[in-house]
């Protein structure tokens, strides 16, 4: 019977492996390196599209775009 011992909740809950500064998520780098350059760029552009939607929603919420200081509708 599979007891699920391959999934240690404590190990899974720790922050992903980082470099010595703690700033660089090495598991994310490993994943990115597993992709082709075209796949990396596609993922980046997809995420940038999402971030732009979030930025616009935030600007609408506050009534001003913090990057340009222009008022939004």
């Amino acid at each position: 019977m599979d007891t699920g011992n391959d999934l240690d909740p404590i190990a899974l809950s720790q922050f992903p492996e980082t470099d010595v500064t703690g700033d660089i998520d090495l598991s994310l780098i490993d994943y990115n390196l597993s992709l082709s350059p075209a796949e990396r760029i596609r993922q980046h552009l997809e995420f940038a599209q999402f971030v732009e939607v979030v930025r616009r929603a935030g600007a609408k919420h506050y009534g001003v775009d913090a990057r340009t200081s222009e008022e939004t509708e």
């Binding site: 391959d6 809950s13 599209q49 929603a57 775009d65």
Partner: protein
């Protein structure tokens, strides 16, 4: 629709309550710094965990923390006690936090959020003051840079136009 929005819409469709935290929340408040993945905080206790696993089931979720990139199990009993899930899915990367250091669980932070309409996908986003508290608790070098920017945003907002 961007993949990440599809992912968040999927969570909404399955009735999962969550808040966007981390760098994407910073963008909503005016941050100009870039980020590469989305972090959310939600309950990882039952029955929420089961609903979350159902929502993720058809988008090929894999555990980013494991070198073998094992598929996220469908059985919630196998994830009992887990506090965070760092995932790669067909709709992009997502870090799922059961609690946020310095702030607490989703129940602790859900009233410290703003609600945004992300192109038809409604999401809670951690408010700026609480985001600063969370970044301070995380305390990495990059968090200190984020805090400096968020405090500048807060100062400019309180100063008014």
């Amino acid at each position: 629709m961007a993949w990440t929005l599809e992912l968040l819409k999927r969570l909404n469709d399955f009735g999962i309550e969550y808040a966007i935290v981390g760098g994407v929340a910073g963008v909503a408040h005016g941050s100009a710094r870039s980020t590469n993945d989305v972090d959310i905080c939600t309950s990882l206790d039952e029955p929420h965990l089961s609903k979350l696993l159902l929502a993720l089931k058809n988008i090929n979720p894999k555990l980013r923390m494991r070198p073998d990139r094992m598929r996220l199990p469908d059985d919630p009993a196998r994830l009992q006690g887990v506090r965070n899930l760092y995932l790669i899915t067909d709709l992009g990367q997502i870090d799922i936090r059961g609690e946020l250091p310095g702030v607490g669980s989703f129940d602790d932070l859900k009233n410290r959020t703003i609600e945004l309409d992300l192109g038809g996908v409604n999401c809670r986003v951690l408010d700026l003051d609480t985001l600063i508290v969370a970044k301070r608790a995380a305390g990495r070098r990059k968090d200190l840079v984020d805090i400096a920017e968020y405090e500048a945003i807060r100062q400019r907002r309180s100063a008014g136009p």
